[in-house]
Symmetry: D2
């Protein structure tokens, strides 16, 4: 399930991660809590939201395009979702009404009863599994990889739901954090490497699951612990909690980009404060790539914590040299007056009085295509900055993600095309530096990256993918046959 | 025209200012430019927006509830608004469809032709004038004070539009920045004290007017100058610009709250950078009311510049101790789980890891009712702060505004009810301090407040209203009669 | 207020009359009764509906495009319209949201209090009066002729509302049936010739007014009487009813087309059953223009009563040779398959089995442009009819109406362009006959038409307009000046 | 697929049949033709409509609640449905958005490619088949019986689509007319008894299928023939037409209620004009149950043809004693004025002038619950009728339909509860008579009903169901077990 991130992405120039999921069981207002929890996870997917609830007899669903607040803030909406168990999902979605059938939680009537699932991540052999299921007569409702899991459960030969789910997950490859609802209770689980996040909390008598701890703050729940890699946590309606590890225990490789950009700064991830991690990355940057300057200017809002870290480490003052509009939305019709205008200006505007005549250090979390970076450097120069230095709080993003993050195809990643010096020329900065991969690991609490067995999934920086990529390889093989038939014949 | 400000006002605990207006003449895409300009002024009014255009023959109007982006970003919307002259308005509005008739620009067919007006401010004798006009047979379409101006123009005995408008404004009292469109061109004007802002710029061959300079940055226009107090600037379709001062020249008294909160930090107001002014207020605060602390924490986002100033002056590090959600909307249904939850949490969340065990200085721009301040202090304590000191980047707000800012009635202003020490107890801070009135004036560039003839309108702090308040006095007189009939009989 | 009739007008080939109005005072559910009453008058205007109510203190309004059922059937809608007095209006309206401001009842705050009016008819000197009012400073909200009445009331020098209304109506020329609401009660009135209909009834303690008696049947009210020409009936909240004749007494000239087409067959109009009148017209037709035939076929639904009359008089059997679809709406995209298709078929379809090989007499109520008649004759032939005779239950419609009926401009009326024989050729019928004007008068209960002082307004047939047509003459005069400037100079 | 009929059913007092289906292949504007065809079938289902098209590569779908005109009249809607093959469906649906997933055509991606189906009828063993499919892992998207067919096709072991479809239909029991689309072409088929109708026509090079011939009139197609009972007609993209009879040949038993009420009077059904059949039923009634009366009054609109027949046979004049409103919609809020009001009045109103003092014969097509009949008799008496005789153009409806018609449960059918005389007392008529079953057969062209092998399905009158009713029997068996557990134990 590829999802998106909205923070400042007018030009599609951020990695678009990823879904957010939330579930509550044994809560007297499960749907209201889920709506609030999803709202706190809104940054993980803004284009659609769905909630499914269970009242002991029936499952109820409501899904909509747009924000959680637009779809789930009213008492009417919540009244359609009765019961003491509910789970929800926020996601990126293609535009248009037809996209609605892909909005999660997905639901199916199985022989064993209702089965609902909310999924964050991506199944990297979904196409392969789907082809096989269709051949056996399965009829898919959506184009979502998540539906593969449901059909695998439906057609499993095992008798109990937990065994059928385990059977299904054994065939699945990739990244997933799942919240599953059945008439027997709720199951939270994470893929064997724990690539995508999932945490568990307590809210009175209720147990809650969420992608990030910030959702617990908002609903007033208490953080218990992270779900472990490969763990299935089953909670029933008597409040019994059971932990299963059907695939054995693996060392975790959680996504390091959660620290760089995806998670909210007030969340904890992999045992660490995200805000603290980001500040520490900024400090690393100041140590590794210092620069003489008058101002440290964050690219708002995602660059702010690293900029504070950089400023504190370097002693260069932190200032808001770019002001961000809170009202960013769709593309506007441009006046054709021969007027110079860039869409970036609707979101970001130079603080001219501050910037004029100054040497500035811009701090951003990452560079993806580089187009926004180029426009922002230009905006600083136009506002009179005498020097513009660019510092990036992550290593060069040179590889696509296949684990639930919507990266551009590799050819469009600036760092896949060129080295740092040509990148500097491309964005027209006076200097450009990225934090080193070991610097990043240090900032998030390790000595350095363990090459033989990295502590995180960092494939977007290193190309070191922790799982086979079956669909991708099948596609590449097919493309190869298509492209070079003669060679093959030879 | 009372309007609102959305920034962080879940609990109605900010002054709600005020409208934003924008106009363009001799622009080939006047409506598209106006839509972009209004979008940049969205922080001045989020609940409704309207644009009126003129194509040399006809006037066209489109108005809608909600944001500019929702109503004016599409090519269809802009295509409904042809012509080379357009003006628009963003405002606070009462909910519900009927509110639409109050959305500006207001338009009327006069004997001289079409007449459209967008107004920021408040006519403080509107009720009195309206009663008289209705008595003479005028029929009002809206409940807006702005419509009074139109009826005064319509019934004026003068022959030309500019004389009729001058005649009308002579009868009007209060604060106004107006953009007027007639078949002869555009007029921008400001009340004799220049209480509400209006600036003029150039965009190629076009002349543009706006409430704030930030709108010029976004449309790519060049700032020319502020409209002077009491000035009418008339622009015709040949590009002729004429300046009139029919009411003589007065010393300006612009609204000082534009510096404190209303304007965007990247705007210039009354000759000064708003960001610089806010930082300087923070510095004044640090000088006037220093405190031993570990962290300076802004109440986001309006407290950020003052917090940076405070931190730089005091040497206490600036940190994001409160994380703001970008997805604040309507009120949600609350789960009734016996869970402690405050609506403030949906917008603001403590950065627990950072705050725990620390002495913090919270910086906010103002205190209105005090309820949000109290909740934020509480949130800091709950997150483990050992001390919470509160510093406010404006003097106590003790008086209502009658110039276009939606203040609570005076009885609900915390500072109208109590002194600083009881206020501290109310919000439960360890210490509380406001910047002094002279400190504020120093920060915005004066030696001190000139008591005999203040350089700004600061009535919300001082109660020193620069104009008579005819409607208010009439209401108070009527209330007095109502309340003490015996006394009157006596 | 020009309104429309929907019955079978895919091609704009019916006269489009006219509004319907309904009011109730001293009714505990005034708005609910008004919604039902308007629903029964829906055939008089389908494109917009509005209701205004009064609860003793405030007036409430709700208006919408579309049918009464879409806008006023819900309890929410009715709850927005509290009070024991209400009036409503159904009308034809131009498409698009902006049309909403023309939807009635119109409302104004006058110095004397609220004033609401619902109007059926047309003020034939409205443009002239409006120009004068605007010159004196009046600001119009709508393009409706009805608003002229409100401004005349607002600017009248008389002290009481009833005198101001009389004063206003004295200046007004044309046709009107009005329901007026003020804080003192309800006034129903009709123009001095009673061109447009208005009836009064009793519903328990309530008094009700309506355009047609059918509305009384639906709400369960009892018919009292017609409002007389030039009469104002005032009802106050104590139930007092007062009749005023400020303009003296005139002989009535009600619109004869109400009998021909506008009114529902189950209404009474001008003292006679509409169904009986239509049957009698059909009988007259059979007497005046008999024909040898196998079947009498009505053009449904408006031709049905006359066809029954024709069949009974002639002894030729009545049969449904044309079947009407109940689901006529918008224009559909046509398949371009080289397939022969006419839009008429979506509404009317030949009953082939019945028609094949037969000599048929088609009966329709009127011929306006003649395009539909031509298509229907063609449809009958295509279905195998051996002869197609056309009989029309009204005289040739050769003149436009200026009294609230939306007729095409005169040049588009078939009968304004040609005599009966060319009309027959145009519609390709084997024979064509219209009822004579005296035959029509006989059918509606007179000996014959009284030429010196006709008993009905029949201007659409005779060109004999009972009032001056000031606006029309002013337009014609202006057009004359425009067209022949040389002559004028000469 | 149970669907509904809207004609005059305010009180749920008509049998609600049934869906309408239409398909076109090798048509350059297949979707536009389908929209028009469905529009002509709108009387067979008004609550939802859907169209699916195929452009040689992709299938496209659009579905909506409401009428065809609301969803498919615009060029935008048709542009979403490109291609030269399309099929559509109109139906009755439960209210609310969630019903959308049941709107047909249903579509699935099978291993063999896309598969779309539109279905009129009801599968009487659908529940039994569904339970078995779910047990084998099938996941259903809808609650529709039609989806069972798709899963049976998906899981069939046969290689070709036509064999898989045949395999599926062999397992299915009940009534169906289907239009199926695959990448190879279109298939039209009817159940082995031909209970539900389906006709085939030609429109230029295109072949079209429809529930009724009236759709061909509207799109300008030529009727070829009815699809035979048990026949599959396959049309490919080269225009080849192939007829298959995989289940052998059976004698047809088409639904006789199509003649009584469901079909439009201008359609042909089972080789006969529906209008002529209805007139003939009226004549039979006049012969079987004559009555001394002044007027024959149809209950509009469905009683009109039978009333004409009755009048012609009896010599009693046909008159519109009841006027029907064309604007019937939702339920309105009722005024609580102590006023007598029945919802029937909004649809039907007495023509008082005509009815007063007369002996009338009311003609209606059927009596279901009897509540409307009672209200209409009452309305006639209230309008002054001296005698009210009721004649019904069908035998007593005493049995539920399980073949796609939404009948009330049997206990609510008036004729299931009582004989004719008590029914007369219930509806308060002076006399009551139904056409005899043999009279009905005579009117539709048979000598008499062939008891051993009836020429029509007439189960609603006779209880003689032509197929096993597997689901019903399973439910009854389960209910029996539920009700008498002791007996079972015994």
């Amino acid at each position: 399930m590829n999802c998106t991130h909205p923070f400042l992405d007018l030009d599609g120039d951020k990695l678009r991660e990823e879904c957010g999921i939330f579930g509550a069981i044994n809560a007297s207002d499960a749907s209201a809590a889920t709506a609030l929890g999803l709202h706190a996870l809104q940054h993980r997917g803004q284009e659609a939201a769905g909630i499914t609830s269970f009242d002991g007899t029936e499952f109820y669903s409501r899904r909509g395009l747009g924000h959680v607040a637009e779809n789930f803030s009213s008492s009417d909406a919540i009244a359609e979702l009765p019961g003491y168990m509910a789970a929800g999902h926020v996601r990126y979605s293609t535009t248009g009404g037809s996209g609605l059938r892909n909005v999660q939680p997905l639901y199916a009537d199985l022989a064993s009863g209702g089965f609902a699932v909310a999924h964050n991540g991506n199944i990297s052999n979904a196409q392969t599994l789907r082809r096989d299921l269709v051949r056996r007569g399965a009829i898919f409702q959506s184009t979502s990889d998540t539906e593969v899991i449901i059909h695998l459960v439906a057609t499993s030969r095992y008798p109990t739901i937990i065994d059928r789910l385990t059977d299904a997950l054994r065939m699945v490859e990739g990244a997933y954090a799942l919240i599953v609802m059945t008439p027997e209770g709720m199951i939270g689980c994470r893929d064997p490497l724990g690539i995508r996040p999932l945490v568990m909390g307590r809210m009175g008598d209720a147990i809650v699951f969420a992608s990030e701890t910030v959702a617990f703050d908002v609903v007033g729940a208490e953080f218990i612990r992270e779900i472990e890699p490969g763990e299935l946590v089953r909670v029933d309606f008597d409040g019994q909690i059971e932990s299963l590890h059907p695939f054995g225990k693996h060392r975790a490789r959680p996504c390091i980009f959660e620290h760089v950009y995806f998670s909210r700064p007030d969340s904890f991830f992999a045992g660490q404060s995200v805000y603290a991690a980001r500040k520490a990355i900024g400090e690393q940057l100041a140590i590794e790539s210092p620069v003489e300057a008058d101002l440290v200017v964050p690219v708002p809002d995602s660059g702010v914590p690293a900029a504070i870290g950089f400023a504190q480490q370097s002693g260069v003052p932190f200032e808001l040299g770019i002001i961000r509009s809170h009202y960013v939305g769709r593309t506007f019709i441009q006046p054709s007056d021969g007027i110079r205008h860039s869409s970036v200006k609707r979101k970001h505007n130079a603080n001219r009085d501050l910037v004029a005549g100054k040497r500035i250090v811009l701090i951003d979390d990452s560079i993806v295509r580089g187009t926004t970076s180029m426009k922002i450097v230009d905006m600083m120069r136009e506002a009179g900055a005498s020097e513009v230095h660019f510092r990036v709080a992550s290593p060069p993003t040179a590889h696509s993600c296949f684990y639930g993050v919507d990266t551009p195809e590799r050819a469009k990643l600036l760092a896949a095309q060129m080295d740092v010096e040509p990148m500097r020329q491309f964005i027209k900065a006076d200097s450009l530096a990225f934090v080193s991969i070991d610097g990043l690991y240090r900032a998030v609490g390790s000595e350095h990256r363990d090459k033989s067995c990295p502590q995180f999934c960092d494939a977007c920086f290193t190309g070191d993918y922790p799982t086979p990529l079956t669909d991708l390889k099948a596609t590449e093989a097919a493309a190869a046959q298509l492209t070079f038939p003669d060679h093959k014949a030879a």
